[in-house]
C-alpha cells in the first residue's frame, strides 16, 4: 500500500490553521491526489492527530463543502465531490506563488543564485510541456 498523503500545520504560521488545512486539501483535490469519492479523515481523528480543536477542522471541511469540493453526509463522513469545480484563476495563481516562494527559500538555502534556480526549473520542465 502506498503511503497516504500528509497534512501539515504550523501553529506559528500567521495563517490560521483552518486555512492552512484548506489550502492543502484544495491542492490535493485539484492535483488529483484526492479523487472523487475519496473519504477525508473523520473530524475528531484529524483534529486529534494535529492537536487542533475539532471546530478548527470542522471549519476547514465547511469551507470546502461551500466551495463544492467535498460533500458531507451525517453519519457517512466527508467525501471528495464527484465533480469538483476547477480552481479559479486567482486561486491557481496564489497557489503557484506560494510554491514559488517555498522553492526560492530552498534555493537560497542551497546557495543558488537567480539564474541557477531558474535553470533548475527549466531542466525539470518537460520538453513537450
Amino acid at each position: 500500500m502506498s503511503e497516504p498523503p500528509t497534512l501539515r500545520v504550523d501553529t506559528q504560521d500567521p495563517t490560521p490553521p483552518y486555512e492552512q488545512l484548506r489550502r492543502q486539501l484544495v491542492e490535493l483535490i485539484h492535483s488529483g491526489v484526492l479523487r472523487p469519492g475519496d473519504r477525508l479523515p473523520p473530524l475528531r481523528q484529524l483534529a486529534g492527530d494535529l492537536g487542533l480543536a475539532v471546530g478548527t477542522v470542522a471549519r476547514t471541511y465547511r469551507e470546502l463543502e461551500t466551495a463544492g469540493l467535498v460533500r458531507s453526509r451525517r453519519g457517512g463522513g466527508t467525501h471528495v465531490a464527484d465533480q469538483a469545480p476547477a480552481p479559479r484563476a486567482d486561486e491557481r495563481r496564489q497557489a503557484l506563488d506560494r510554491h514559488a516562494t517555498a522553492y526560492l527559500r530552498q534555493a537560497r538555502l542551497l546557495g543558488a543564485d537567480r539564474e541557477a534556480a531558474l535553470d533548475a526549473v527549466r531542466r525539470a520542465w518537460p520538453a513537450d510541456g
Binding site: 503511503e3 497516504p4 500528509t6
Partner: protein
Amino acid sequence: MVVTVILGLLLVPLLGVALAGPSAAGEPATDHIRRTTRRWRWAGLTLGAVIAAVAAGYDPLGRGILLAAPLFGLCVLAGVVAGESRVVRPTGTARQAALETRQGRHYLPRRAFRAVLAAGAALAALLAATTAAGSADDLGRAGRVLAYDCGEITGTHGPWVGSFYSLPLTLVVGLGVLIAALAVHRLVGRPRPQAAAGDLVLDDAERRRSATAVTGACGVLLTIPLIGVSLVTAAGLLANPCRPQWCTAAAWLLLLLIPAWTVLLAWSAAAVLNPGARATRPAPVAA
C-alpha cells in the same frame, strides 16, 4: 453487589491515569509506544489477577467465583486504556497528520472479534432466560434456584443463575464492554507518532497488538462466565424430573457448545498474555 462495587473502585487508579493525559517521551516513537502500552497492560493484568483471587474467595454463595474472571478482564481492559492514553500527543509547532481513515476494524482480529461477539450474544440470551426462570430460595433470596412443579412432585434446584447472580454479573460485564469500547476508541484515535526527523511513523503493529489484547480480555471476560452459566443451567434443566423435550435439547445444546467456548477462552488467554504473536493485517485505508 457491594463486593463488586468495592473491587470495581480499585480500577480508579488505572482509569485516573487514562484520563490524566500523556507522558513525556525522548525515545524512538514506536519503542516508546510499545513499552508504555505493554507496561500498562501488564499492570492491569497483575491488578486483575489479584482482584480475581480476592473476589473468588469472598462470597460463599459463589458470586465471587462468578465475578472473578470478568473483574480480571475488566482490569486488563483498563490497563489497555491507560497505556493508550499515555502515548504522546502532538505539542510542537509543526504538526503532521496522515490523510487516512482509521477504524477499529482495521486493527481488531476479525474472526476472534466475531467469536467474542457471538459469545457476548450467547451470554446475554442465556442470562435473560435464566433470570426470567429463577425463583427465590428457601431463605427468600430472589433468583437463586429453579423451581419445578410436576403435579405430585414439586421442588427446586440450586444454584441457578437467576437475578441473584445475573445482576452483578451483568453489571461487571457491561462495565467491561464499555471500557473495551473506550479502549478501541483510544487505540484508533490516538495520533501517529513523529520520528525525530519529523516524519510520521507507522505504528499499526502496536495498535493491532492493543486491539488483540482488548479482544482477548473481552474473551476472558465473557467466556468464563458463559462456560460456568452454561454448566449450571444445563444441570438445572436436567434436574427437573418432568422436563419437556425442549429442556433436554437446550441442556445438551449448552453442553455441546462448551468446547467451542473453551477454544475461544484459550485463544483469549493467549491474546492477553502475548498479543504480539498475531500475523500482520492490512493497514488502514488511505483517504
